[in-house]
């Protein structure tokens, strides 16, 4: 019976109920979108790292597995790597950060495709000229640049010669030598990608390399991929926590305001219920149930909205940022929505529960 009253109360004020649930929904979406973005971008980076096909990655000192860095190492080291037992290919790549999260990656086309297999061209083909650039399909879809178009980067104009399927190391490839020239950094690469004759020897080779290059960061592909997690991106975990905190505050304020208005508007009804023998606990219980329904509605709306946000990100700006749906966070955001909403309902609920019945009955 109380449930029917709660349901009818919410139904009675459809617009307010809808807007309140939607506000909680946006709070839920905000969290899911941030988490989805974080995990999506890390997954994309991990997928591209795996797509290279190297067994071992060597990075210069003072770099990390996943952070962009301008540090370089001599290209000649590749020859030394080839002398290591089990190493059958050693390929250098040179990654230069551009604006935002985008990068330009220099490769030796023959050597790189020798390591990771041929590119799958959607249109066009390999480099023909010095200032040619190969972009991936996501880049093409986001920036509408295809073969024959020009891309400006590092104050140079690069001619798109090919569009490839995504999933290999980078989104924009240029000739290694050209990029070294442009950066005035000849003979340098930012990482070495090693292929072994037998992947089972990976750890033995890494151990040997670490003895010779103690300052260098040397990872197996599994180690590298495992580094692409929220915990390993400096500040990301804290950023997510800040968003969660803000969401709780927003949810708290929305529900607090809604319930406060509700209690004021229903002062007389609270008086009626008290005259019928409802205890303060009964009154509080009604508001708590209304709040929980709002939170549940908001949670559901938030998940639906997060699918929309996910689609929009992956449809319109996929080259820059990527998003994934994170069902493992649905119970967490449900708890957040419930906690924030209950906190918001606390003061209005207590006010209603303590409301003097006679005053409430004479409320106009």
């Amino acid at each position: 019976m109380i449930n029917r009253l709660v349901f009818e109360n919410l139904r009675h004020r459809k617009v307010r109920t809808g807007l309140s649930a939607l506000s909680i929904g946006f709070q839920v979406t905000m969290i899911l979108a941030i988490v989805g973005l974080s995990q999506g971008m890390l997954k994309d980076s991990a997928d591209r790292a795996k797509g290279v096909g190297a067994d071992i990655w060597v990075k210069p000192p003072s770099t990390s597995a996943i952070q962009l860095s301008s540090a370089t190492m001599p290209e000649k080291m590749l020859d030394a790597f080839m002398l290591q037992p089990h190493v059958i290919r050693a390929v250098g790549s040179y990654t230069v950060p551009l604006s935002g999260l985008s990068t330009l990656t220099g490769i030796d086309y023959q050597k790189f495709t020798g390591l990771s297999g041929p590119f799958k061209f959607v249109e066009g083909g390999p480099f023909q000229g010095k200032f040619d650039v190969i972009v991936d399909r996501w880049y093409q879809e986001t920036y509408h640049k295809g073969v024959g178009d020009t891309v400006k980067a590092l104050e140079k104009e690069w001619h798109v010669c090919g569009v490839v399927e995504p999933g290999k190391l980078a989104r924009m490839f240029v000739p290694l030598a050209t990029l070294q020239d442009v950066m005035s950094n000849p003979g340098k690469v930012s990482q070495a990608l090693l292929k072994l004759d037998n992947p089972k020897e990976t750890f033995a080779v890494i151990s040997a390399l670490k003895v010779e290059l103690p300052e260098y960061k040397i990872y197996s592909v599994e180690e590298l991929v495992s580094q692409f997690s929220v915990e390993n991106v400096p500040g990301l975990k804290a950023f997510i926590n800040v968003i969660v905190g803000l969401s709780i505050i927003v949810g708290f304020l929305v529900v607090s305001l809604t319930m406060y208005t509700t209690v004021l508007e229903r002062t007389r009804e609270i008086g009626i219920l008290k005259a019928l023998g409802a205890s303060p606990g009964d009154i509080m219980g009604i508001l708590v149930r209304e709040t929980l329904l709002l939170a549940a509605g908001g949670w559901f709306a938030g998940i639906l909205l997060s699918f929309g946000a996910n689609w929009a990100i992956n449809h319109f700006v996929r080259a820059s940022i990527q998003s994934v749906i994170t069902p493992d966070w649905w119970p967490i955001v449900a708890a957040i929505a419930v906690v924030a909403s209950l906190l918001g309902a606390l003061y209005p609920g207590m006010r209603a529960a303590r409301q003097d019945a006679i005053e409430a009955l004479s409320y106009e």
């Binding site: 019976m1 109360n9 007389r268 009626i272 008290k274 005259a275 019928l276």
Partner: protein, 226 residues
Amino acid sequence: MSDSIISVQDLRKVYRVGELDVAALRGANLEVPKGEFLAIVGPSGSGKSTLFYILGGLAKPTSGKVAVGGEDLASLTDSGRTRLRRSKVGFVFQRYNLLPTLTALGNIEIARYIAGRQTGPLDKSFLELLRLLRIENRLDHKPRALSGGEQQRVAIARALVNHPAILLADEPTGNLDTENATAVLDVLRDLNERLGQTILMITHNPEAAAYAHRTVRMRDGRVLDN
């Protein structure tokens, strides 16, 4: 009087308004036998409503003795008065005071639920009461779809669903036209005569008071002719 269902002796109630103490009841005495239909009349500010609220367990007396169905209200805690409202008292208000979001039946059922957490079909005698009140075909309607008279009859049904010892009616015809007022008063008298329901009715209207067995007048916080 041992057969009184309501017994009020030297009842006083002082309200604090700002920095002033306002005496609403100044030693009221009243005895109401079981099964009586009593009208209470008096000018505004005479203490009628305060007496009504104290008898209904909505306000706590400042001093004096007041018992409803043998229960001493002066010694009751807040939760004790809540329990009293559930089991021994039914209210009918001038402004009907139905919950607008529930149907007529929902309003009746919520009172039953609050009183005893009962759900399920209404008992046969109560269905008979609904027929007596002529609202048995209006139960699925929300208050806004009911006339004033119908709303007040639903309020009476709600007040009686838990078989209270006393029915307290505060100006039950105050918002009704003559025809509907007569219908409601007929119903109250009928309930009293058929079911022996004890009724206390506050009214300004002498014609309404005439329906009662007895009329007492209040003035300045006292019952004049008990």
